[in-house]
């Protein structure tokens, strides 16, 4: 950063601010709280961010930060008449609270802060969970133009980019420098992490707003109960502790499985649409350092001993699940865990934030939740533990937006390390930590609990990305269908894998082999290589 640009930026800031003042006359509502806050709250040297609570300075930003650049650029756009009055953001219903509910006490909400700093109304449109992609495709294909920003599952980025429905953000990234790969505050894995979460075929199409790493939880009250410990040791010949291998996991689950007392061994999901994430964990840990889904030529590797064994295990594990496992989605899973109905489960990283939460009076497991690394397998003297990144909302700018740059700037602001840490700490929604700054943040750690945050961080390092190449939806559907068929007993594990392979080959042909091979390679580059010592 040279001095001259710094000065010009500052000068720009002041002109933009006065321009903002003029425009804001029409909207005094936003002006008043904004000015009041700016006047008394910001810490020394800060130019923006939340105020009004202890530790607010951690989320405030000085000049020349991604947040400040975003706000400045918005004001610049406003000055040039290129900024909208409002930006429409389509978002999962359950996540809206993180933007609209003030947190912690005394703070503004994210929405209020954004509106105060920019004068642009943030219009958040709720989309029912699980229908994000459907709604986006409706908007893209009918040219409905109902949103400026879509938030969809990260896996669909490739599919969505291919539709031309979302904007290539490279130009804006280059201009406004989001610093996503900042080694101290940025994405885990630096540039590679950014490329995994935000890029498709080398260009930026999305801004990650989530960290849906699948994390394992257990009940500390059960695991630490001396009677249980003794009974377990007597039965299996080793100490009761969070499992390190799937074999242990299955034994512990079987041990705790007491359906007559309303306790199930493990409730990692088995239903259509979600269950296959748990198959993934069992499959990818079948080889060291990873069992891949495709080889480098794009040939599926699932119809193999590894695939069939993983599937068989996945089916057999139903024995220590709820009998309703095949019809349970996460709402049932969370509800059951909250009522103390399971010894272990695998869920989004936000489970402790919601269920181990004194405010949640409906939860019977407050203070009784523990987290552990994913179970794995012992291969060549090492322990391979893997989990998956799956769902993970990421936001993209709609091609139909009249103000793509302003929309991008909102995302840069929202998805940057300071604002995002503040947002993810808010228990009002689903957005989970994924940046280094989030994991270290005291407020985030308070919401998500220390015991959990460290496990999440370590699990992230062992996380395999799910399919995110074009055709992701079709690939996953084929796998999903066949796994459910295997679970219900209408297909054998071997048939399920053979049929999946056949369907995958068809999808691959439709997508185009070369496009696919390229995307597979990019995806594989993000797979972890870390292994653990045994014992």
């Amino acid at each position: 950063m040279t001095i001259s640009t710094a000065i010009s930026r500052r000068r720009l800031l002041s002109t933009a601010a006065s321009a903002g003042l003029v425009t804001a006359v029409g909207t005094p509502l936003y002006l008043r709280p904004g000015r009041a806050r700016a006047a008394d709250g910001l810490a020394e040297g800060m130019v923006g961010g939340p105020t009004g609570f202890d530790g607010a300075e951690r989320y405030q930003y000085g000049p020349d930060t991604p947040e400040a650049r975003a706000i400045e650029a918005i004001k610049e756009l406003k000055g040039a008449g290129k900024a909208p009055e409002r930006i429409v953001l389509g978002l999962s219903d359950g996540s809206i609270g993180q933007l609209t509910q003030p947190f912690p006490e005394g703070a503004p909400s994210i929405k209020e802060l954004w509106e105060a700093e920019t004068g642009i109304t943030l219009d958040i449109v709720g989309v029912p969970n699980g229908q994000e992609f459907t709604k986006v495709m409706q908007d893209v294909s009918t040219k409905g133009g109902a949103f400026d920003i879509y938030a969809v599952e990260w896996n669909r980025l490739g599919d969505l980019a291919e539709t031309g429905g979302i904007v290539n953000l490279d130009e804006y990234v280059a201009a406004h420098k989001p610093e996503w790969d900042d080694p101290e505050r940025g994405y885990v894995g630096g540039e590679q992490g950014v490329s995994l979460l935000n890029n498709y075929r080398g260009s930026t199409y999305g801004v990650s707003l989530d960290g849906d790493f699948q994390i394992w939880n257990h009940r500390t009250d059960l695991f630490n109960d001396p009677t249980e410990q003794k009974a377990f040791a007597d039965k299996y010949g080793y100490e009761l502790a969070p499992p390190t291998t799937f074999k242990q996991h299955d034994e512990i689950a079987a041990f705790f499985h007491r359906p007559d007392q309303g306790l199930f061994g493990s409730t990692d999901l088995r239903n259509q649409g979600w269950g296959y994430t748990n198959w993934y964990q069992r499959f990818v840990s079948m080889a060291s350092p990873n069992q891949f889904l495709f080889d480098d030529e794009g040939k599926p590797l699932i119809n193999s001993e590894a695939g069939i064994n993983a599937t068989q295990e996945y089916i057999d594990s139903l024995a220590h699940h709820s009998p309703d496992a095949i019809s349970w989605g996460w709402p049932e899973q969370y509800g059951n865990f909250a009522s103390g109905g399971a010894a272990m489960t695998c869920a989004f990283s936000n489970l402790p934030k919601f269920l181990d939460n004194p405010v949640n009076e409906g939860s019977k497991v407050t203070g009784k939740v523990g987290s552990h690394l994913p179970p794995g397998r012992e291969i060549d003297g090492k322990l391979i533990r893997r989990t998956v990144l799956w769902l993970n909302l990421s936001a993209s700018v709609s091609s139909q937006s009249a103000y793509p740059e302003a929309s991008y700037l909102l995302l840069q602001w929202l998805g940057s390390s300071r604002i995002y840490s503040w947002m993810t700490a808010n228990p009002g929604g689903y957005f989970d930590p994924f940046q280094l700054s989030n994991f270290a943040d005291p407020l985030v750690r308070q919401t998500y609990h220390d015991y959990h945050m460290d496990v999440v961080r370590e699990s992230v390092a062992r996380t395999v990305p799910t399919i995110n190449y074009p055709g992701a939806t079709a690939f996953h559907n084929a796998l999903d269908e066949n796994l459910v068929a295997a679970l219900t007993g209408s297909k054998s594990a071997a048939d399920a894998m053979a049929d999946t392979e056949r369907q995958w080959a068809r999808v691959a042909r439709r997508v185009g082999e070369d496009k696919l091979v390229e995307a597979i390679k990019a995806n594989k580059a993000a797979w972890p290589t870390i292994t653990d010592p045994i014992g």
């Binding site: 709720g126 969970n129 040219k143 409905g144 009522s339 109905g341 009076e361 939860s363």
Partner: protein, 286 residues
């Protein structure tokens, strides 16, 4: 018809058994609506049939109050979806009844629109899902996506066959002498229709309208595809009643389900005396 005592016993036993069975889901809904969250559990071991500590929290929650139990607050209350459902269903019913009734009369009296009986049956028989792609595109083009009138228009069209067929059977069956007498006295055709025919058709109109209204009010699929935010209907809105704190908000869902049953029930009671006569499809008075 006089029947024996044993028949009477059988009748009561059979009816009560069926009534009891048919009430289970409804009672479950009603009881769920008044249960606090601790008693919702349909997945755990402790099943509660009747609310042990009944509460109105679920209803309050729907309209934006967060209660002690449900620490999440709704970003959208149920008010707008209820309004959306009401507007779309009422206007959809009006469209269906007006277009359907007049067409039925036109065909029945003047033989116009001979293609309509078959065309309308086909329209009704065809799964809406199968034409939804073009309809979505068309609606987006016309700016009708996520508007109550756009939804009402589809509702009106897809339920018009019912209005048409029901009304047609009645018109076919109505003695023409009455109309003819009025015509001879110099009334215009339209006046006869308005002043004589329609009033006679009140039971038929009432029961057709109830029918059509229930169909519109019940719709889930069309609302799911043609609304996005402002005019989401009750069944579509229902899906957003879940939270990560508690899983599915069954209590709130049941409470909303109970509220959603009010309009059909009220309408049903209002036209009760016409209901039986109105549903004979004119088919008996031969």
């Amino acid at each position: 018809m006089n029947r024996s005592l044993s028949f009477e016993i059988f009748r009561y036993a059979a009816i009560l058994a069926i009534v009891a069975l048919s009430l289970v889901p409804t009672l479950w809904m009603a009881s769920m609506a008044f249960k606090p969250i601790a008693e919702w559990s349909a997945t755990g071991a402790d099943l509660t049939w009747w609310p042990k500590s009944p509460t109105l929290d679920n209803f309050r929650f729907l309209f934006g109050e967060s209660s002690s139990d449900l620490i999440v607050a709704l970003d959208r209350t149920a008010t707008q979806p209820i309004l959306a459902s009401l507007l779309a269903a009422i206007f959809g019913t009006l469209i269906a009844m007006i277009a359907g009734t007049s067409a039925a009369y036109g065909l029945s009296r003047f033989g116009s629109g001979g293609n309509l009986p078959l065309a309308l049956i086909q329209l009704r028989i065809f799964p809406p899902m199968a034409v939804m792609i073009p309809v979505m595109i068309m609606w987006a083009f016309l700016g009708l996506i996520d508007t109550w009138y756009g939804l009402a228009l589809v509702y009106g069209i897809v339920t018009m066959p019912f209005a048409f067929w029901l009304m047609k059977t009645f018109f076919d069956d109505m003695p023409r002498e009455i109309e003819d007498a009025a015509l001879v006295e110099g009334c215009s055709r339209l006046r006869v229709f308005w002043k004589i025919t329609l009033p006679m058709m009140r039971p038929a109109l009432a029961s057709s309208a109830l029918f059509v209204f229930i169909l519109n009010w019940s719709d889930y699929l069309i609302g799911l595809l043609l609304t996005t935010r402002d005019w989401v209907t009750i069944p579509v809105y229902m899906a957003s009643l879940s939270s990560s704190m508690t899983g599915q908000l069954y209590g709130a869902k049941a409470a909303l389900g109970l509220i959603a049953a009010i309009p059909p029930v009220v309408l049903g009671i209002a036209i009760q005396k016409h209901l039986v006569r109105g549903l004979t499809f004119g088919a008996l008075k031969q």
